[in-house]
């Protein structure tokens, strides 16, 4: 493996719905990550922010907004956006700086303040914007797409609403002891099935909320980590390295009907590629890290819906297509189960979604797991962690961390 970027520090606010300025959350997470790394803000060579599109101009330039809030130091800055994949894209950018020798220390931060209810396009008439058009012409909300994927799973593999509910039950148990989680109550299968149907076959408790929150990581070069290790706080704790960041796009023809698509690509002239888009996201990460699904101890995946978490089991190669229901049914992906633990943090089921922070939050959890610091939700002896998510408009996101 290459001498890859080291995750020197992680920080994360609690997730909730407070309506404070997003920058407040971002600064809190950034300060915690800097403290955790044992370094001063002034030592940071580059700050990378994940953009938020719902918080005005300050959100479009989130990197410099947080830098200014911490106090401008002359550090280099970038702000990136890849919808739900923004956090991985931000980590990717910071890691590339380190691998290129352009920076020793990078701060990556994502923060969001979200509105109530469905995520929707910003106001205005934009008939050339596919995201605007899917709402105007079809009323196709995000949960509608989750419902379509879930029903497809039922058709292909005989999945049931009960199988989906079991994912919520598992994740709710994982989140009970996670002090940063927004929802920390255990949920029973019957409660999921008794909650209102939002987009059949999915119930309210199958679908993740939207939340306020922020997450940050401090990355550094291997050389910098070695120089500091003797004296700093990080001494004595396992060194966690980035082993892969996958931010792949789909390959034509993409048959996945991703958000906000109104139609898939046509396969009439060219057959689909050997891997679906979601399969290719993890595959690229595994290839980069030189490992495979059998090596994974913990996975943080984007459970926008319970059914989607089952899709991810297969996309990550934790089981063959059509067998995810067996995994959740026998508790294989729960803490103490016989497969990789999936969403030990409690996942989006317990956090809700804070778009530009979420992919960074996934990495924070993996780092805590690899350090053995995940109190009350620890996968014992975890050495390899993978995250996976997908952003609107063809954004793959998967990060592998190892110790």
């Amino acid at each position: 493996m290459r001498d890859d970027a080291v995750v020197l520090g992680v920080g994360m606010t609690a997730w909730g719905k407070w309506g404070r300025p997003f920058v407040d959350y971002g600064v809190a997470a950034a300060r915690e990550a800097l403290d955790d790394a044992g370094i001063e803000w002034a030592e940071v060579d580059l700050i990378v922010g994940g953009q938020t599109v719902r918080n005005g101009y300050a959100g479009y330039v989130a990197g410099s907004t947080v830098a200014g809030a911490l106090g401008f130091t002359g550090a280099q800055v970038a702000t990136v956006y890849g919808a739900c994949a923004s956090g991985a894209m931000a980590i990717d950018h910071g890691r590339a700086y380190i691998l290129a020798g352009l920076a020793d220390v990078v701060l990556v931060v994502g923060a969001d303040t979200t509105p109530k209810g469905f995520l929707a396009p910003n106001a205005g008439e934009r008939p050339d914007d596919p995201d605007w058009l899917r709402f105007r012409l079809l009323g196709a909300t995000n949960p509608a797409y989750f419902g379509l994927y879930a029903r497809r799973r039922m058709h292909l593999y005989g999945a049931t609403e009960s199988d989906f509910a079991k994912v919520k039950v598992k994740n709710s148990r994982h989140g009970v002891d996670n002090s940063r989680a927004r929802y920390r109550n255990e949920v029973a299968e019957e409660e999921v099935l008794a909650s209102a149907v939002v987009a059949s076959p999915l119930h309210l408790l199958d679908i993740c909320a939207t939340s306020d929150g922020a997450a940050a990581v401090v990355l550094c070069s291997a050389g910098y980590a070695a120089r500091r290790a003797v004296t700093e706080r990080s001494a004595g704790r396992p060194k966690v390295r980035i082993a892969a960041v996958s931010t792949v796009t789909p390959a034509f023809p993409d048959t996945g009907l991703g958000l906000p698509d109104i139609a898939t690509d046509s396969t009439a002239v060219l057959p689909p590629p050997p891997r679906s888009f979601r399969d290719s996201i993890a595959h690229a990460a595994y290839e980069q890290a030189g490992i495979g699904p059998e090596d994974v101890d913990v996975a943080e995946v984007y459970d926008l819906s319970t059914a989607l978490e089952l899709d991810w089991y297969e996309n990550l190669g934790l089981c063959p297509a059509g067998e995810a229901e067996q995994l959740i049914g026998r508790g294989a992906t729960a803490l103490g189960g016989d497969a990789a633990t999936v969403n030990p943090s409690g996942g989006l089921a317990c956090f809700g979604e804070a778009v530009p922070a979420q992919a960074i939050a996934q990495v924070c959890e993996l780092v805590w797991q690899l350090r053995g610091d995940a109190l009350g939700r620890q996968h014992d002896g975890a050495r390899v962690g993978i995250s996976a998510n997908q952003g609107l408009f063809g954004h793959g996101s998967s990060v592998i961390v190892v110790r």
Binding site: F118, L137, A144, V197, A199, I262, S266
Partner: protein, 147 residues
């Protein structure tokens, strides 16, 4: 009265409004790849550099690939045609030709219980919503009469 209002497509150039309406995709003049919505910026096939795309009528029948319903009113820019809001069914339909899946609402009055994966459907045009001066039209899927 709404009958006096002109009926116009809610989006220009994506579908016809005759008795047997069709979705209008684009077709690459070089390699024949079809796309919907119609593309103005060239062929979606990565190694095809042709920008010339002609209008192409897609198959107007297909089978339901998956479906769901919208039990709660979607936020703007969706405009509900009824007050109070009435849930509708969304279907992703695999066309009988052309090799793609196209999303659309099922016709008014169709409930999720009326739909199953594999159901044969055909394309129709219905009112999406009305403004003060026009009826906005959109494509929808209707179960085939003999299905």
């Amino acid at each position: 009265m709404s009958v006096t209002k002109p009926a116009v497509p809610a989006v220009a150039g994506w579908f016809t409004t005759d008795d047997r309406p069709v979705l209008l995709g684009s077709r690459c003049e070089a390699c024949g790849v079809v796309a919907f919505p119609p593309r103005s910026h060239g062929c979606p096939k990565p190694h095809c550099r042709r920008t010339e795309q002609s209008s192409y009528p897609l198959a107007r029948t297909g089978r339901v690939w998956s479906f769901t319903d919208a039990r709660y009113q979607p936020p703007p820019p969706y405009l509900s045609p009824s007050d109070p809001y009435e849930p509708f069914v969304l279907a992703a339909v695999e066309l009988d030709a052309d090799g793609l899946v196209v999303l659309g609402q099922m016709v008014e009055g169709c409930a999720a219980a009326d739909v199953h994966v594999g159901l044969p459907v055909e394309l129709v045009v219905e009112s999406l919503f009305e403004t003060d001066d026009a009826v906005q039209l959109v494509w929808k899927w209707r179960p085939q009469a003999d299905a």
